[in-house]
Symmetry: C2
């Protein structure tokens, strides 16, 4: 079978959801073009804007790092070191190695330096599910790292968007549904947040990573076991296998015409009395947790 785009070279990749056979060269060109198209379509950032990219070491963020660098954007890569023992060391080594190899600038922010404890201990001390505590802290620190930048960029892809959308619908999270968009505008102390992989499938990122030999951490996060998002991913995959194309249509039609738009209560946000970060409480979770974990350590 030939590549559907050039119609001359043999197919090397088959993107199931689009029923699209592609050769290596057309796949790569199309991949970059689609990321560029998403950045422009949703007005994420322009050529000279300074953007902060959160790099976890996983396949998605590593691929995003490379493709945005190749497209010529002014990236500042930030890795949040979670203090999870050997897992975190593996992530740091891999990311630092790739940055050195490519000549990419990289900042590392250490949770242990700030909290005097790693993520596992923090989650236990503040009595939260680890993914919830970790998400809150990573969002806060990336936001802080973007203080002088145009926006924070993350590697969430179309499959993540569809799974999140499914979960939000199953639980009728109208507030989250109203905000679920590839661009979340900045607001006072909150940086603008954007997702350039919004139109890219996980499958495409996997092919891209293989093709470009981008290293990534294969080990699973030791805290991840309880993530509900993986159940929504599995349910979407079950449906996609039986009805290819459903996932893309489901998510893109939602983006085109979000029926929950305007149900946001972002106006309720006010500055945290300690740090100024926007929150619905007097003090934001990050500051409250930092005090609690630090005072426990001293007590």
């Amino acid at each position: 079978m030939k590549c559907r785009i050039c119609r001359t070279r043999p197919r090397e990749f088959f993107i199931r959801s689009y029923k699209l056979p592609l050769c290596r060269r057309c796949f790569l060109q199309r991949f970059e073009k689609r990321v560029q198209a998403a950045v422009e379509k949703y007005r994420m950032f322009a050529g000279d804007d300074r953007v902060v990219v959160g790099i976890s070491g996983g396949k998605d963020s590593m691929a995003l790092w490379k493709v945005l660098a190749d497209l010529g954007y002014a990236i500042k890569a930030v890795h949040i070191h979670l203090g999870l023992g050997s897992y975190s060391h593996t992530c740091e080594d891999l990311i630092s190695g790739y940055a050195a190899q490519k000549g990419y600038p990289l900042d590392i922010v250490r949770v242990e330096t700030i909290f005097g404890a790693g993520m596992q201990e923090i989650a236990r001390k503040v009595n939260r599910a680890s993914c919830q505590a970790c998400g809150t802290i990573k969002r806060y620190l990336l936001n802080q790292a973007a203080r002088d930048a145009h926006c924070v960029v993350t590697g969430h892809h179309l499959d993540d968007g569809a799974a999140l959308l499914l979960g939000n619908l199953l639980n009728w999270q109208e507030e989250s549904l109203s905000r679920q968009y590839p661009v979340l505008q900045g607001d006072r102390s909150l940086a603008k947040k954007v997702k350039p992989f919004v139109l890219t499938l996980e499958e495409e990122i996997r092919y891209y990573s293989e093709l470009c030999e981008i290293p990534s951490v294969e080990e699973k996060c030791p805290l991840q076991s309880g993530a509900t998002s993986s159940t929504y991913h599995q349910a979407m995959e079950l449906i996609e296998r039986k009805m290819p194309g459903t996932k893309i249509r489901f998510y893109k039609d939602f983006l085109r015409k979000n029926p929950f738009e305007g149900k946001s209560d972002r106006d309720r946000l006010r500055p945290c009395e300690t740090c100024g970060y926007l929150t619905v409480k007097a003090q934001c979770n990050f500051c409250e947790w930092k005090q609690r974990v630090r005072s426990d350590a001293q007590g």
Copy 2:
């Protein structure tokens, strides 16, 4: 483990989604009470209203038949004989046998008598997926059978509602979403349609059928292979297994506050020029198909 309701007899059933252990007697009482509660809550019909119940011979409609009879409602059972060879004979024999055993009145409407052909041939001749053609014809004939009745009653249960809701959301069928409710009010030639099992789980119906030794057709419909609804059922089950209670919350919260309400275009309906049944076209599918299938048979 004891029954959660009487707290004296041992548990015989465990309803997973409610985490509810029940003895036989409390299960049966609760089952009937919940059907009665749904009928009243959604103002489906009253004690002396004549209601038409569509009986396919499957577990759900057979159980509905018995529970509504036991609750004392004035039921007219109607079976649509689809003309699908041995499968349809099995259904008819089982339903007729149960009606005779219980002394329930029963009408049988034969698709072959009306169309001069069985469902498989009809679907082929009108060039539709068999489940789509069959659904249209069954809805039409049940509606016709209810001409002098208060409403048409079907055995759709909570799992069906959740799976349909999921499918409608995945495809953003806003028109269907606006109408997805346990009661669809009548409109000129359209009978009111109600679903007394709307708050009942398939699991509960299965227990009830076993307990009351209600016979049902186990054989699958020979045309059913392509039904997309089974994929949505499977996806919901996958999620329910990991997060028990999600299915009930998902569906009930939707019923409480349907975010798509008011997006219906039912006003576009007008009477079919042949039979008067409401349709969006000049002639309804049923009449158009009947003419086509009959003229093919004569030609």
